[in-house]
C-alpha cells in the first residue's frame, strides 16, 4: 500500500483501513459523528435498488471522498442525507437526528446546517448569480444588509465576481457549477455535501475549488464529496468510501481513487 503522505493528522491515529463498516459504528461514539447511516437500503418506486445495507459514520471535521462508477448510488446516498428521498430501510442520523422521523416543518432547519452542491446545479433560472447565492442566506432570515457583502465574498472566492448579475442561462457550464458551490458555502454550513463539484471545471479551477474545500475543512467543517476525479482523490490522500452497485466495498483513510492492493 502507498503511504498516506497527504493524510490529515487525525488519520494516522485511527487506522481503520479495510475494516468493515459495522466495527466503525461501535468504535465511534455517536455524539462525535455528524452523520451516521445504519443499515440503509433504498429501493426506488420503480423497483430499482440503489443502495443496499449501507453503514457509514462520518465524524465531525472529516473529509470524505465518495467514489464509485456511474449509477453506483452516490447521489442517492446524498439525497437520503438531505431527506430529498427517504430510506426504504435503516436509519440516517444527521447531527443526532433521524432525518426520516423529522417533522415536515423541521426539514428546512436541518438543510440549512448543510451546504449542498448538486450534480445538476439546481440554480433558479429566473434569478441572477448573486440572487441565487444570496437566496441561501435569505432563507435563514439573515438581515438584508449582511447578505450583499457575504455574497460578494464567496463570489470572489470562486472567481465569479464579474458574472454576479448574469442569469444562469448566460453562464458557461463551469460558471454555473461555481455558482452552485458559492451558494453551498455562503451560509457557513457545518457540513458540506458536494456531488461531483468539479465535473464541468478545468483542472486548474478544480484544484482551486478542492483547495478551498480543504481550507474550509481545516476550520472544522465536515466535507462529503462524491467525485469521479481520480487525480484529485489520489493526490489528497483523504478518507475514501467506495460504492459499487449500491454497497460500500471500501472505506479507507488516506486512500487513492482506485483500490491499491
Amino acid at each position: 500500500m502507498a503511504s498516506p503522505n497527504a493524510a490529515p493528522p487525525r488519520a494516522a491515529a485511527r487506522s481503520l483501513r479495510d475494516q468493515p463498516a459495522a466495527h466503525l459504528i461501535a468504535e465511534t461514539p455517536d455524539e462525535q459523528a455528524i452523520l451516521v447511516l445504519h443499515d440503509v437500503t433504498k429501493t426506488y418506486p420503480n423497483g430499482k435498488t440503489a443502495l443496499r445495507d449501507v453503514d457509514l459514520v462520518i465524524p465531525e471535521g472529516d473529509f470524505v471522498f465518495l467514489v464509485g462508477a456511474s449509477g453506483a448510488g452516490k447521489s442517492t446516498l446524498i439525497k437520503l442525507i438531505i431527506r430529498d428521498e427517504i430510506a426504504t430501510r435503516g436509519a440516517v442520523m444527521l447531527d443526532g437526528q433521524d432525518v426520516a422521523r423529522l417533522n415536515r416543518r423541521d426539514v428546512p432547519r436541518i438543510r440549512r446546517k448543510i451546504g449542498i452542491i448538486f450534480q445538476d446545479f439546481k440554480l433558479l433560472p429566473t434569478k441572477t448569480v448573486q440572487e441565487n447565492v444570496g437566496f441561501a442566506l435569505e432563507v435563514t432570515g439573515t438581515p438584508h444588509r449582511q447578505i450583499a457583502p457575504a455574497v460578494a465574498r464567496v463570489l470572489s472566492l470562486v472567481g465569479l465576481s464579474a458574472q454576479a448579475s448574469q442569469l444562469p442561462s448566460q453562464l458557461s457550464g463551469g460558471e454555473q457549477q461555481r455558482t452552485a458551490i458559492a451558494r453551498a458555502l455562503v451560509h457557513d454550513p457545518r457540513l458540506i455535501i458536494a456531488d461531483e463539484p468539479t465535473g464541468n471545471l478545468d483542472p486548474l479551477i478544480s484544484w482551486e475549488i478542492i483547495q478551498l474545500l480543504s481550507r474550509i475543512n481545516e476550520l472544522g467543517v465536515t466535507v462529503l464529496m462524491a467525485t469521479h476525479n481520480a487525480e484529485i482523490v489520489t493526490a489528497l490522500r483523504r478518507r475514501v468510501v467506495a460504492l459499487e452497485d449500491g454497497r460500500i466495498t471500501r472505506d479507507e483513510l488516506g486512500a487513492a481513487y482506485h483500490r491499491e492492493d
Partner: protein, 295 residues
C-alpha cells in the same frame, strides 16, 4: 416578522415581473372574469330593482259605496293608514276615477265608451299600497268588515300570488346564475394561477432543497397571487368606469322608471370586484402552492 413580510412582498413583485408572460396572462384572465361578474351583478341589480318596482305596484283596491258618507270614508282611510303593513292610502273620488279611466282608454287607443253615458258609473275607491305585498290579509279583512262604506274589495290574492311567484322565480334564477358564474370565475382564476405555478414547480423544488421553510416559499407566491388579483380588480374598475357613461345611458333608457341608486350600486360593485379579485388571487395561489408543499 416585518422584514419577512417586506422580503415576501419584494419577492412577489420580482416574481410577478420575472414571469411576465404568465403574470400578464393571469391578470388578463382575472380582468375578463371580473368584468363578466360585474356585468352579471349589474344586470341582476337591475332585475331586482325591476322586481321590487313591480311588487310595489301591488295594491289593494276597495270600491266604495256611492252612498257612503264622506266622514266615514275619511275615518276608514285613517284607520287603514294606521295599520302597520300599509305604506300609503289614496282616496280617488268618483269624478277622478272617471277621468283616470278616460285617460287610460285614450292612452291605449281605445274607443271612449263613457261618452255614451249620462251618469258616472265608476265608484270612488281607496287605493292601498302595502309595505310587503305578502301581507294583504289583515287589510282586506278590515276593509271587508266595513260594509257601511266598502262595496267590494278587489280580489288581489291571485294577482299577488302570480306576481310573487314570478319575481321569486326570477330572483332565485338570477342568484343561481350569479352563483354559477361566480364558481366559473373562481375555477378559471384558480386554474390560471395554478398553471402559472406549475410552470414554476422547479423553482419551488429548489427553494425547498436549499432549506427554505414552507412559509418562506408560500407567502411570496400568495402575495404574487394577491397582486395579480389587485391589479386585475383595478384594471376592471377602470374599464367599468370608462364603460359607465354609455352603459348608464342605456340603463336609464330602459330602467328610467326603476328606483336604481347608481351611487350605492357602483360602491357595491367596486367592493365586489376588489374583494373577489384579491380573494381569488390569494386563494388561487394558496391552493396551487399547497399541493407542492404537501409532497
Amino acid at each position: 416578522m416585518l422584514s419577512f413580510i417586506a422580503f415576501s412582498l419584494r419577492r412577489a413583485w420580482h416574481g410577478f415581473w420575472r414571469n411576465a408572460v404568465m403574470s400578464i396572462a393571469a391578470t388578463a384572465t382575472m380582468v375578463l372574469m371580473l368584468v363578466l361578474l360585474s356585468t352579471f351583478f349589474v344586470v341582476l341589480s337591475g332585475l331586482n330593482a325591476g322586481l321590487q318596482f313591480v311588487e310595489q305596484k301591488v295594491e289593494v283596491v276597495a270600491e266604495l259605496r256611492d252612498d257612503a258618507p264622506d266622514l266615514k270614508v275619511v275615518q276608514l282611510q285613517q284607520d287603514i293608514a294606521a295599520l302597520p303593513e300599509v305604506a300609503s292610502v289614496e282616496y280617488i273620488d268618483k269624478p277622478t276615477a272617471l277621468a283616470q279611466f278616460k285617460q287610460r282608454m285614450a292612452q291605449q287607443g281605445r274607443e271612449d265608451l263613457t261618452q255614451f253615458l249620462d251618469s258616472n258609473p265608476l265608484p270612488a275607491t281607496l287605493n292601498i299600497k302595502l309595505k310587503d305585498p305578502h301581507q294583504f290579509g289583515t287589510v282586506v279583512q278590515t276593509l271587508r268588515a266595513r260594509t257601511d262604506v266598502v262595496a267590494t274589495v278587489e280580489e288581489v290574492q291571485n294577482l299577488v300570488d302570480r306576481v310573487l311567484t314570478i319575481t321569486n322565480l326570477l330572483r332565485t334564477g338570477g342568484l343561481i346564475l350569479l352563483g354559477l358564474v361566480g364558481l366559473t370565475v373562481l375555477f378559471i382564476i384558480v386554474n390560471t394561477i395554478r398553471l402559472a405555478v406549475v410552470a414554476r414547480a422547479e423553482e419551488i423544488e429548489i427553494m425547498r432543497l436549499v432549506g427554505a421553510s414552507d412559509a418562506f416559499i408560500r407567502w411570496p407566491f400568495i402575495f404574487e397571487g394577491a397582486l395579480v388579483g389587485l391589479l386585475g380588480a383595478l384594471i376592471t374598475l377602470v374599464l367599468l368606469a370608462l364603460g359607465a357613461a354609455p352603459l348608464s345611458n342605456l340603463m336609464t333608457r330602459f330602467f328610467e322608471i326603476l328606483p336604481l341608486e347608481l351611487g350605492s350600486l357602483s360602491r357595491n360593485l367596486a367592493v365586489l370586484v376588489l374583494a373577489t379579485g384579491i380573494g381569488l388571487g390569494t386563494i388561487g395561489s394558496w391552493v396551487s402552492v399547497r399541493s407542492y408543499l404537501l409532497k
